[in-house]
């Protein structure tokens, strides 16, 4: 249904998207996961025909987005990162305008507008001005706008960003309900988001595809590197030595407590649950166990893990070294 073929996008010297390819099958929900600045919005803007790629091409429902933009756009609904609302327009007025612009037949405009307002539960704000809506309602009006012409393809750029937990659950349910008759691509920078909603995930980082897999497989691949965080009231070196001896523990990183309690990060083999053993190791030696909890990997750490997992067992929490700053050599060339 959607084909992205070797798409590259450069903004002047910045390469935002670097040779990305993937396919989305009819009726599928694809998650597009990546940290901020990974190139998610740029890729979506290319699929929706908002901007052309520097290289490569995007095909939606069989139509090349650059060569047959009108046909492709007829079949695409798009919720941009910021919902494109006109603040002075009332919600129903705005949706009527969008329906006309999207080419909904005159006789169906009213029914479609009422239909999507019902579906996205915004009928109660139909008479309110878009500019006065809360973030949650704006997002829903944005979604309603994308659904108006009943497109086959839905491109949703961070549809749950900035919503409260209840709204997030509602939006997820709505998106799931839309799957089946629609092919959906949604972007997010939160891992649980995709495991909740999507059947397949494309992970991108720095403009490149890092992994394409099901959420289950990805979670399994990542679990191996899950770490425990402990805070122990005891002598640092002894604590470190004691924990290293616990069966199943593969790595111990000690952060100096500067006289107070010490913080320790412990990784286990194959993600084995060693919490009980860790606790008894600390307590049996008479130290105080102040804290013991699993460490959630940040998305950056997951990327690091996914990109380096074949070479070494990446140590979580360790950032790659910063590349040398340009600009220093300028002084020497001047002289």
């Amino acid at each position: 249904m959607i084909e992205v073929q070797h798409v590259t996008k450069r903004y002047g010297p910045v390469t935002a998207v670097d040779d990305i390819s993937f396919r989305v099958e009819r009726g599928e929900i694809l998650g597009f996961l990546g940290p901020n600045g990974a190139g998610k919005t740029t890729t979506m803007r290319i699929i929706t025909g908002y901007m052309p790629p520097t290289e490569g091409r995007a095909i939606v429902a069989g139509f090349d987005v650059l060569e047959q933009p009108i046909e492709a756009k007829r079949r695409t609904g798009y919720l941009p990162e910021t919902p494109p609302l006109y603040p002075d327009m009332r919600v129903s007025e705005y949706l009527t305008f969008v329906a006309k612009v999207k080419g909904v037949a005159r006789s169906q405009v009213k029914a479609r507008v009422d239909g999507v307002m019902e579906r996205t539960r915004i009928a109660d704000v139909a008479r309110r001005q878009c500019g006065q809506l809360s973030k949650g309602y704006r997002q829903r009006v944005g979604l309603a706008q994308a659904l108006l012409h009943d497109p086959e393809v839905l491109i949703l750029d961070e549809p749950t960003a900035g919503l409260d937990p209840k709204q997030i659950i509602e939006t997820r349910q709505l998106i799931k309900a839309l799957a089946g008759d629609h092919t959906i691509v949604l972007s997010t920078h939160i891992l649980p988001e995709v495991s909740q909603t999507c059947q397949r995930v494309v992970i991108i980082n720095k403009g490149r595809v890092v992994a394409v897999d099901t959420p289950e497989n990805l979670t399994a691949r990542v679990r191996g590197s899950e770490a425990m965080y402990l805070q122990v009231d005891g002598p640092g070196p002894d604590v470190s030595a004691a924990l290293t001896q616990v069966p199943g523990v593969s790595g111990v990183t000690l952060n100096d407590g500067a006289g107070g309690p010490v913080s320790v990060e412990v990784t286990s083999e194959d993600g084995r649950d060693v919490r009980r053993e860790l606790a008894s190791a600390v307590v049996s030696r008479g130290w105080g166990l102040l804290e013991l909890r699993p460490m959630r990997l940040s998305l950056e750490e997951i990327f690091l893990h996914l990109t380096t997992e074949d070479t070494t067992a990446a140590e979580p929490g360790v950032a790659p070294p910063e590349p040398p700053q340009p600009g220093q050599e300028e002084e020497t060339t001047h002289a």
Partner: protein, 253 residues
Amino acid sequence: MRNVLAIAHKEVKAYFDSPIAYVFIGFFALLFGYFFVALLSFFTSQSMQMSMMGAPVNVNQQLITPLFLNTSVVVLFVLPSITMRTYAEEKRSGTIELLLTSPLTDMQIILGKFIGAMTLYAALLAVTVVHIGVLFWKGNPEVLPVLTGYLGLLLMGGCFVSVGLLISSLTKNQIVAAMVTFAVFLLLWVIDWISQFTGPLAQQVLTYLSVTQHLDDFTRGVVDTKHLVYYVSFMAFGLFLTARSVDTERWRG
């Protein structure tokens, strides 16, 4: 065409939903009223002298023509604020993403915005019908030069609107758009002032380029194809350049 009208309608509504339209109409009515009274007093005193000398008095030539020419000056000031938001505001607020991902051609969007701005402009001109009406009520001017005068003002405004759209499409900042547009209008308006100091060929070219030079004949009841061609091709060129600009912006991202 339906898409074009939907956008035009949205533009007009945006003007009238906010205070913009009313402020402009009020401002325009005030300035035009001022010119009207000033020119009318001048005309009255002048025609008294003339009739004492037995010369014929012509309302059209001595009052209505200068009134229309003065109106073109007011238009110069008002139109930049009408066109400044057309593209700049959509780019700033992100609604441009909606328009550019809808099944529309760039030209449909541009024409919709053009018609929208022209509708507000026509509403401004409609205010002046009241003043001119007074002249018909109290005197008996010729109808034809009045009608062609309005036609000329509409065409001239169309040129300015097409330039305003182009400039608005180049920036996200409404104020910058308004200021640059005003500067360009001013240049188009005064470009023939230096023509008397240049060679004959340059003089012809400069006079031809001046947007207001072409208005003169219209206010005298003459619709010359030369002027029509000028105005229509000016507008078409302005809209074409706007389309180029929108497309370039799209590539740049």
